[in-house]
């Protein structure tokens, strides 16, 4: 009897080529590259419809069943849980872009996908991957060379007018949340100007966002300072003048020992005096704080009822902030140092606020701390659905990043695919004069660049081929 193995090799099927001759399970290198490319392309096709102002949104339900409706590439990739190793590389590239620039992540993925698609054609033509890589490298070096020549405008943060600056911000915002860019651009501009350091630098994390459901985007506002999404504990709810702020990382309560302890009383006098002594101690402390000139107490922990009683008696304001992160932000805004033990702060440990006020917005209570020459700005965003709110938050983040980049390098190039088309044209010319096999890869690279204007037209509902021509 012949073994089935030999049978199968005997039944050599010329149609399946080389693979027909080999043991089952074998894979051919060429095949592997192609499959990697296909995986990356699949991811990129999934993403590229979200490019640009008219990019379509994705509805994502992540593994915690949280819902996102977004066209932000970085968010989509983060929630997608990409498994394929080759596709993961694309995701990493996008993540790096986000960390570096905070924007244009979709461009990275779409363009990489298109490059791979072109590679596929080149491979079918018979080009070896190493030749393709060489060609792409030449093209990419050429682009770095060409880009500075395409700069259309030099915007300097120091001198530029608000119109000029918002002109740069608008396309960034429009591509994130079209329709609200007109509202957001001036707000982000204001916020960035508020937090700009004397050396004209902006730290993106200095612009905070508070999201409130209800009303519409146009009701969003910018507040120079800190906004807490809760009311105050004390009876005093509004201080309209410049006041000192003291931040405690610990709770405002009678300190208790960590180890279990029992208060031992020996005489009747001890018993009578016990509560009184606790009260006097708390009063002394609050009094001390009040006498140091502090008007607003902020705490990261609990406020005991006794403490609150004296806080009210000394007409202080008390705000509780649960998150350590938020507390640090507030310190940043007011310039206060967070104290870890109770007691009156020294003058340089105090922060300053120009006004502190509890407000009702959209059925939610907010405490607004306005600060002088603030190092922190808060955007209060409004929208009627939470998915829009999340989108707006990302748009603000991208906008602030764009501004930050503008601070570093004021050169701008035309958007909306114009730069890509110009580069593509130049690369085509380069390809025409390149000898050797490189020219095919360079040409493919040039062609791949066209994906940007093509997609923009596609997603907006126009005829892409017509616009491309």
């Amino acid at each position: 009897k012949q073994s089935p193995k030999i049978m199968s090799s005997m039944a050599y099927n010329s149609a399946s080529g080389l693979s027909g001759m080999l043991k089952s399970g074998h894979s051919h290198w060429d095949h592997a590259v192609i499959r990697n490319i296909e995986a990356a392309m699949e991811l990129s096709t999934m993403i590229h419809t979200s490019l640009g102002p008219f990019g379509r949104h994705k509805l994502l339900v992540n593994h915690l069943e949280k819902i996102h409706v977004t066209s932000d590439c970085n968010t989509i990739l983060r929630e997608l849980e990409v498994e394929h190793p080759a596709a993961k590389l694309l995701k990493m590239a996008a993540t790096m872009q986000d960390e570096e620039c905070g924007d244009a992540t979709n461009l990275v993925v779409s363009f990489a996908g298109e490059l791979l698609r072109q590679t596929l054609d080149l491979m079918k033509m018979g080009l070896h991957t190493s030749e393709v890589i060489a060609g792409y490298q030449i093209a990419s070096e050429k682009i770095q060379e060409l880009l500075p020549t395409l700069v259309c405008k030099q915007v300097s943060v120091q001198t530029a007018s608000d119109e000029e600056l918002s002109q740069v911000l608008t396309p960034v915002l429009a591509s994130k949340h079209y329709g609200s860019h007109e509202v957001l651009a001036p707000l982000i501009l204001q916020a960035c100007k508020v937090v700009m350091s004397p050396s004209y630098r902006v730290a993106p994390e200095a612009v905070r966002v508070v999201k409130l459901l209800g009303s519409s985007v146009s009701a969003s506002t910018m507040i120079p300072g800190y906004v807490a999404q809760r009311g105050v504990e004390s009876n005093v709810t509004s201080i309209e003048e410049t006041c000192k702020v003291c931040v405690f990382a610990c709770g405002i309560e009678a300190s208790s020992t960590e180890a279990k302890g029992t208060v031992l009383m020996k005489t009747a006098q001890d018993l009578k005096g016990y509560n009184i002594s606790e009260e006097t101690k708390m009063e002394e402390m609050i009094q001390g704080i009040a006498e140091s000139g502090v008007k607003v107490l902020v705490t990261g922990g609990v406020v005991s009822e006794m403490a609150l009683h004296f806080i009210d008696r000394y007409k202080l304001m008390c705000l509780k902030i649960g998150s350590k992160w938020e507390l640090r932000r507030l310190c940043q805004a007011t310039g206060a140092t967070a104290l870890v033990r109770l007691g009156a702060p020294t003058p340089d440990e105090m922060g300053v606020a120009t006004s502190v006020k509890v407000q009702q917005v959209g059925g939610k209570t907010l405490t607004v701390l306005k600060t002088p020459d603030s190092k922190l700005a808060t955007l209060v965003l409004r929208a009627s659905t939470s998915s829009v709110l999340q989108d707006l938050e990302r748009a603000v983040d991208d906008g602030v990043h764009a501004f930050e980049q503008l601070c570093r390098d004021g050169r701008v190039v035309p958007g909306a695919g114009a730069t890509e088309m110009a580069l593509s044209l130049k690369l085509h010319q380069l390809a025409d004069v390149s000898p050797g096999l490189d020219q095919y890869a360079i040409r493919a690279f040039a062609k791949a660049l066209e994906i940007i204007p093509r997609t923009l037209a596609d997603t907006a509902g126009f005829d892409a081929t017509q616009k491309g021509g």
């Binding site: 399946s16 693979s19 080999l22 089952s24 399970g25 894979s27 290198w29 592997a32 296909e38 699949e42 419809t49 379509r56 949104h57 994705k58 509805l59 339900v61 593994h63 915690l64 069943e65 949280k66 409706v69 066209s71 929630e79 997608l80 849980e81 990409v82 498994e83 394929h84 190793p85 596709a87 991957t129 329709g179 459901l213 209800g214 009303s215 009876n235 029992t262 208060v263 031992l264 009383m265 020996k266 009747a268 006098q269 018993l271 009578k272 509560n275 009184i276 009260e279 006794m306 009683h309 009210d312 008696r313 407000q359 929208a383 009627s384 659905t385 998915s387 829009v388 907006a460 509902g461």
Partner: protein, 603 residues
């Protein structure tokens, strides 16, 4: 290079050992991830939204029906859109958008929560044919957005301003409150409630404290009695608290009393839990006992010495203290709810004290009149003629708990409507009049648009008609007849702009004349929100659902809320049915995205 690729490939192909010739599917995303895209996906999202809006549509208007929602523990009977949407535990990712707008309408305006969902659902329904025919969703969205903007602007143009100061202003508010109550369970008692609501809100308006409405106006549910026994106290009222012996000997009526507010327990008990007394000499025993009594007597003494006539405490006031105060002609009440105590503090100008040491005149509150009143079977402590005349308390009576709960929601809505009215000081006519007028305007405007936009704006205009149509349907009228009469009135008659559905007679009437008024902000917000929601749904081109992680921590975060609500199931089935009919699904399992109608965490 090459080697790596091969390894990668093998790693991947392990998952699908198809072998030679058979191309294993590329596994791009985590196993179990569901993706669906394109037109069918969009249509199925629209269907889900429609199913949700169908679920609440019958509650619209004065003749709307109520929903009974059973969530496994409690029964809620309501026709408040936001309440129903909240209780339905809708888990469909796209349909959740509708829950969002309903809640945002509730937070922002407080009323009109049903109509906003209805409107969003109808806009999507009218646009569905365009999606099916292959019009690019971006084209649709662009036009819907512009139509939405025009609609809001038109409402603002139509709004009739009124002067608060005049007598008419008051009438206006009454009518707005009545309109809001009209569609609720207590519609037949609006003559009783409307003036109460207006009085309560106006007190706040005069003091410029409208924002604190939720803190300052309390609604107390006291089951029993009759609805007509409900009453408003301009001041603070709360039910008599638990009392000890000696209570009945107290004086229960004071004029201009001084009120002491405490957060102190006035009872004989150990001072501190971790305190321990150790005595070496048995003779000291009595002195310790005496000292304990001394501590409480000192506290009581301090209260009396402060000059207060009334002592209220958040914590219990024991029988010793009750007797002590009764002997000295004081009134006391312990275990007063926190909110009530704070309201008393606000109204009387007092401050809540956590210790009885260092009491002084300044922390005492005062009011014109305090008395214990008997209403039906219940007794109330009532503080009136307070110096800060801001707070009011509405005491609701009624037969069943559900009835009172629904009454409270209705009153809340009406309060918010009156508040809105005072803030914007402009009204439009209800009864579907303003929707039809805007619809007529958009229809005319559509004719000036070239291209596809004309049809889309036209569809939006048609969608607005759902409000009067549904009003008729719910009341059992022939909606086609009435709607055509209304359309004629609005297009041909110059004075016909306020014509809406006449619910009483089953015909049409000038609703503005009839006094069916709503704050214009209400309508602006609901048009804007519905438009935004429709755009969000239309903008989705792909739904990707990752498999839920099995991490128990995820459940603790309470993403999906509780459990096996039968209504949830019903909704799920309804949605499934809708989808089965429309054939929107791409991959049979969960492609249409309609799943998880049941929360996970509950079991």
């Amino acid at each position: 290079h090459r080697f790596n690729s091969i390894q990668h490939y093998q790693a991947i192909s392990k998952m699908n050992p198809g072998g030679l010739g058979m191309r294993p599917g590329i596994i791009l995303l985590r196993e179990g991830t569901d993706t669906s895209q394109g037109k069918p996906q969009l249509i199925s999202n629209i269907n889900a939204c429609q199913a949700v809006s169908d679920a609440v549509r019958t509650t619209l208007g004065p003749r709307g029906m109520d929903k009974l929602v059973f969530d496994g523990r409690n029964v809620t009977i309501s026709n408040d859109g936001a309440t129903i949407m909240k209780l339905l535990e809708i888990a469909h990712p796209a349909a959740k958008t509708l829950v969002d707008i309903s809640l945002s309408q509730d937070a922002e305006v407080g009323d009109g929560t049903t109509s906003v969902v209805l409107l969003a659902g109808e806009i999507l329904k009218q646009l569905k044919p365009f999606v099916e025919e292959g019009v690019h969703p971006q084209t649709i969205m662009r036009n819907v957005r512009s139509a939405g903007k025009l609609a809001v602007k038109k409402v603002q143009d139509l709004a009739v301003p009124f002067d608060m100061k005049s007598q008419e202003g008051n009438e206006m508010l009454l009518k707005c409150a009545s309109t809001a109550l009209n569609s609720k369970l207590i519609a037949s008692h609006q003559d009783l409630f409307s003036p109460m609501i207006v009085t309560a809100v106006k007190a706040l308006y005069d003091a410029n404290a409208l924002d604190d409405i939720m803190d300052l106006v309390a609604i107390k549910q006291v089951p029993g009695g009759d609805v007509r026994q409900s009453f408003l106290v301009q001041g603070v009222a709360f039910k008599k608290t638990f009392s000890y012996a000696g209570f009945e000997q107290m004086t229960k009526k004071f004029t201009n009393p001084k009120i002491l507010l405490l957060n102190v327990e006035l009872e004989l008990k150990s001072e501190k839990e971790n305190a321990e007394v150790r005595i070496t000499d048995p003779d000291q025993y009595q002195s310790i006992v005496d000292a304990e009594w001394q501590v409480i007597y000192d506290k009581l003494d301090a209260c009396v010495k402060s000059g207060a006539n009334i002592v209220l405490s958040k914590l219990p006031i024991g029988d010793l203290a009750t007797q002590y105060f009764a002997d000295r002609g004081l009134f006391c009440a312990g275990r007063v709810e926190d909110g009530d105590l704070k309201r008393v503090a606000k109204a009387t100008g007092g401050a809540v004290q956590t210790t009885t040491n260092g009491l002084y005149e300044g922390i005492l509150g005062t009011c014109g009149l305090f008395e214990e009143k008997r209403m039906g079977e219940e007794r109330f402590n009532v503080f009136t003629e307070c110096p800060m005349a801001l707070t009011s308390t509405l005491v609701l009576r009624g037969g069943s708990e559900q009835f009172i709960a629904e009454s409270e929601r209705s009153i809340h809505d009406a309060l918010m409507v009156v508040k809105r009215c005072l803030q914007t000081q402009a009204v439009v006519a209800g009864g579907g009049a303003v929707e039809l007028e805007v619809s007529t305007y958009l229809r005319e405007h559509a004719l000036t648009i070239e291209g596809k936009g004309q049809l889309i704006v036209g569809a939006y205009a048609k969608a607005l008609e759902i409000v009067p149509r549904q009003l008729c349907d719910n009341a059992g009228f022939d909606s086609t007849d009435i709607l055509s009469a209304l359309r004629r009135k609005h297009t041909q008659d110059a004075d016909g702009k306020w014509y809406g559905v006449d619910i009483a007679n089953g015909s049409i009437c000038d609703t503005f004349e009839e006094g069916v008024w709503e704050p214009s902000d209400n309508k602006c917000n609901s048009f804007a929100a519905a438009t935004e929601a429709a755009c969000v749904i239309l903008s989705i081109d792909e739904t990707i659902i990752s498999p839920a992680s099995q991490d128990p921590g995820a459940q603790a975060t309470g993403m999906m809320g509780g459990g096996q609500a039968p209504m949830g199931n019903m909704m799920g089935e309804a949605l499934d049915q809708v989808n089965a009919h429309k054939g929107g699904s791409r991959s049979g399992n969960l492609g249409n995205g309609v799943r998880y109608m049941k929360g996970r965490g509950g079991a």
